[in-house]
Symmetry: C2
Subunit: 646 residues, 2 copies
């Protein structure tokens, strides 16, 4: 009866979370962190930051977490933070934007990126109550460009989050708001144990780090396989997505309820706090007689947060039987792999912490004769090592764990564990977020170019592309319409014939969006003439020009007469495009592209003579990605780079 009740509730909650994600906002499924990472790198995923997504993510995340699924709330909170930041920045949802003047100041790429970064740090801060950890997470994992100003802006936003959190915790003390606020600002406090270690403890610490690295990369590898299978299932239709989520939910509930029956009850040491029944805490009674507790139920039949708190519990070396921890570890390995890909908002942090703390505690039991480090602390180290082994972060994880556990003396050991696990993991495969980015096909651009890119010049890259379409400064409408319809380019070079013959002048680059704006507004001229600045100002506000999404299909009703008219492109052209010489290596061009944050880069000839076009090509992000270049130049793959040049 109890089982049915448990199963039913979880099933219903999963159903709500999943149906919302499937029907209203497919982008709300998963953690959202890879997409945010890609956005901050310059790749926009459609429908990521809307009001619907925000709503679905909030409700869905509440549903999924309370359904007892093996997933965390930190990934969704990061996404929620970014959605709120984005909505605030654009003054509300797409259809009901507030047109206040100050909102317009955020209407450029850089400020939008800054806001979304702040939102992401606030999300981590809210999830772990770790303000500095949140800032560092954004810096190390999410953001691609980083400025000193952004550092203190994110710091400011997490400071506000922590003050608000603290105020709510003060309001909610003594359990008035359910489980909220438990643990105060420190979620998994392990500061009550004296950390004592000596030189020889480096061995168990190193072992934890190495195992964490190996397990973390193995986790990434298996998750990759499972996500590919899930992708195939999910593509079959909405009903399959839903069924997948619900079967995972049923499996989870069955295991969580059924497995504790396998273990023996343990007698309590201290009857004042053991067993607990009907409230959250350590030492669950479950099916045991009075004065006894079921250690596996303590870990499984509780919220994920409480499970972490219980397995991190210090000064309790004999609380858990090795067999129970082994079941716990195996179960969460399986759940962690099969839960992540289902169509509900899900975070990766908590599942990995659960697996890691499991084997950390297990190692503690095995190594009991050799080390004095507390088992709770070993569970913390295990969690940290698996995080580093899978996500490959160091500084931010270190600070997040410090803020989670409030044990500064553990810091040196944590640092060593993180570094070892990251190094071991890196020797096997890329980090879990990079893997997901690749699976989703997002053209993410790393900071460092591949070594073989030094052996290829941008000129060679341009040679194999279709030739560039360029406009004259004052161009015929029909030419523009043709170019927009027949190509998918987003930027076109604009060139002028000079006053004398045989001189060609490069004027700049014009964006597809601006050309479509011109066609939509029918800003055509009867004769070939240069326009004045006020004519443009009158026609186009700069808010309009900052908008990007436009479609050539929306342009209708350009008559035949209009087709023969002219457009003066000069005032709408970006006259200061970034350029590279054709002899430039792809590696250095990529550094420019990525460091300055470009969308288009013009390639100019190294020859100066009449008859040579001032632009020989235009490069975009796609042209500079390794997996687009290698099929065309397969011989490069194994070539080593030339010597470094500065």
């Amino acid at each position: 009866m109890g089982f049915l009740y448990f199963l039913g509730t979880n099933f219903l909650l999963t159903f709500i979370a999943s149906i919302l994600c499937v029907c209203f906002a497919p982008t709300a499924a998963g953690p959202g962190i890879p997409e945010i990472k890609a956005y901050l790198n310059g790749v926009d995923t459609p429908n990521m930051y809307g009001a619907t997504v925000l709503f679905v993510k909030i409700i869905g995340s509440i549903g999924a977490v309370s359904a007892g699924l093996d997933l965390g709330k930190e990934g969704p909170l990061v996404h929620i933070g970014s959605c709120i930041a984005s909505l605030l920045g654009q003054g509300g949802p797409d259809n009901h934007r507030i047109k206040w003047k100050w909102v317009r100041y955020f209407n450029n790429d850089r400020d939008r990126r800054d806001l979304i970064t702040c939102g992401a740090s606030s999300g981590v801060c809210a999830a772990f109550r770790a303000p500095v950890g949140g800032v560092l997470f954004s810096l190390e994992e999410v953001a691609s460009w980083w400025r000193s100003a952004l550092l203190w802006r994110t710091f400011c936003s997490t400071a506000v989050v922590v003050v608000v959190l603290r105020a709510f915790i003060e309001l909610c003390h003594e359990g008035k708001c359910g489980l909220f606020g438990e643990g105060g600002l420190i979620m998994f406090d392990v500061s009550n144990v004296a950390v004592s270690y000596n030189v020889m403890d480096i061995v168990p610490v190193a072992i934890i780090g190495i195992i964490g690295g190996v397990l973390g990369s193995l986790y990434n590898y298996l998750l990759h396989k499972i996500l590919r299978v899930y992708n195939l299932i999910n593509q079959k239709g909405k009903i399959y997505k839903l069924l997948l989520s619900l079967s995972v939910s049923i499996f989870t509930s069955a295991c969580q309820y059924g497995l504790p029956f396998l273990v023996k009850c343990t007698p309590c040491d201290d009857l004042s706090m053991c067993p607990t029944n009907g409230k959250s805490g350590n030492y669950k009674q479950f099916n045991c007689p009075n004065g006894h507790y079921n250690d596996l139920a303590t870990l499984l039949l509780t919220t994920n947060d409480d499970a972490v708190r219980n397995i991190f519990s210090t000064n309790t070396p004999h609380e858990y039987q090795p067999f129970s921890i082994l079941i716990f570890f195996t179960l969460y390995c399986i759940l962690g792999l099969i839960t992540f890909g289902i169509a509900v908002p899900s975070g990766l942090f908590l599942p990995i912490i659960l697996i890691g703390s499991g084997y950390g505690r297990l190692l503690g039991i095995i190594m009991r004769p050799y080390t004095n480090i507390d088992h709770g602390l070993l569970a913390v180290l295990g969690a940290a090592s698996l995080m580093a082994g899978s996500m490959r972060m160091t500084v931010s994880l270190c600070v997040i764990f410090l803020e989670l556990t409030n044990n500064l003396l553990l810091l040196p050991i944590t640092m060593i564990v993180l570094l070892i696990a990251k190094t071991v993991g890196d020797s096997f495969n890329p980090s879990v977020y990079e893997m997901i980015l690749h699976l989703k096909g997002l053209p993410f651009m790393d900071a460092d170019p591949e070594p073989w890119m030094r052996n290829l010049s941008v000129g060679e890259l341009i040679d194999v592309k279709s030739s560039v379409v360029s406009f004259r400064g004052i161009e015929k409408v029909s030419n523009i319409v043709d170019a927009l319809k027949n190509t998918t380019h987003n930027g076109f070079p604009v060139m002028d014939d000079g006053d004398e013959v045989e001189i060609v002048k490069l004027h700049g680059v014009i964006l597809r969006a601006h050309l479509i704006k011109v066609l939509k507004k029918k800003w055509f001229l009867k004769e070939k003439r240069r326009t004045e600045e006020w004519e443009v100002r009158e026609k186009f506000s700069w808010v309009e020009l900052a908008e990007r999404e436009e479609n050539i299909e929306d342009v209708i009703g350009v008559t035949k007469e209009e087709m023969e008219m002219f457009v003066d492109l000069h005032p709408l052209t970006n006259t200061t495009p970034f350029t590279v010489l054709e002899s430039m290596s792809v590696a250095k061009a990529r550094i420019l592209f990525r460091q300055v944050g470009l969308r288009h880069m013009l390639v100019v000839p190294k020859y100066q003579a009449s008859g040579v076009s001032p632009v020989i090509g235009i490069l975009t992000r796609q042209d500079l990605l390794a997996y687009n270049i290698l099929p065309v130049f397969p011989h490069l793959e194994n070539s080593k780079g030339r010597e470094k040049s500065n």
Copy 2:
């Protein structure tokens, strides 16, 4: 008698520190952080990272700190860390380099920068025993470019530092090594006090932040004035430098010894730990009868570290009389201003912490009726606020203070204080390091260009420069010698006439250092011909080519016949220089220059025609600095930037 002994020892120690700095390594005076910051920005200060500097800095810093001067060891430790990193990277001191193969891998700008960044973080880590704080300090204050790889490298180096520190502390426990290791890994532990605050405590916290910001910027302002006066004195000669240091030392000693006589003795509360005599600790007896202590002597007649520990002491609201704290605060304000510029290795952190903790504690006494926050914690907050008010860091200070004091619950308040103080300070003047950079005349390049730079094109900038000197691919020796003697340029464009007439090809940029190498080795050709790759390889190793410092004066004995011979510049030319169009705005050119970390940038014409030179100019760091542009284009200063364009 005691006074003379005290004075004499301090005088002697200051004399040693100062005479070393004055005679052997003037660059070892001061903190060294601004120069390291400039180096990582691309500005090399000569004689900063040699073995002599390292030696003088170590001995000098020990002398200056033990002389009781009001200065810290963290700035010098940062410099020491960077020196060691630099020496390791180049394989030893200039004259006795180890020529191992692996050392050569570090022989490029980027790896040298990385090593020096690691050294700087290790220095902060060693000074404050704050591994994460050290990493963040490098990130926020010192480094100009930051990559994810650098983040975990610095993290790794601070992890090693903390493990070594911890091992030494274990070896040195129970006072075997004097004061070393006191406090364990946490220097100023205040975790023994329960942090309790409510919503209304935001008012005193905000007051501390505002005062910190105002005082911090005032400190910067006064320090600027005093450093200018000191510069005048120091320029007069070595003897004046020495005299200045010694008079500051005498003044410091006299005040530290004499002032405690002004205050009344206080009776002890707890006779088991009060008064202390003959050992370090709180409650100094000094001139008081048994069972009494002198509170000002507790703060003044001790090491700076202990002074901080004593003023941060928690649960001791009545230890200090307001009058003593006032004297302490005033004295350290004066000392902090007059000590910094003298010719000894000196850090800024500790003087500022001392001033800040003084007024924090004073505020605690004033606000006693209104807040429950412990006075020790208020001293910590005061120190944090003055640091933020003067240095304008946020995240790194927050983590450093967390690691210094081990009180995680104080974190939210610290964050608010830091943000308020930084904001207030920023509204008055730039940070103290920026001010010192400016005083030293180092051409530091900020991340953000000035708004008026959008209104100037690089073409206009080139027009007012002397015309560019360029070479042909195969150039006469006499032309090269002339160009090197008559200009100070460090890079020259190399151009080739094409196969047909009227085609000019831009080949690349050649460095002055490489040209001098060619002249020194007399790699001349009798006839105009292209050389083969192996000829160059035979003559020049790439280790030689990576060396930068060369002087045209060293080239002697080029005969008249040789002057008529030729050099093939092609193989030594960098064929992939970064270029900008002449229509590019200075603001965007600067972003490229700074983000990619360039030394030269070629300006190419926007016209394509025969007879136009493919390079119209070459821009360097100096050309792009605001204070070099404004005198030539004075009308720009007050012009607002055009609209932002991406």
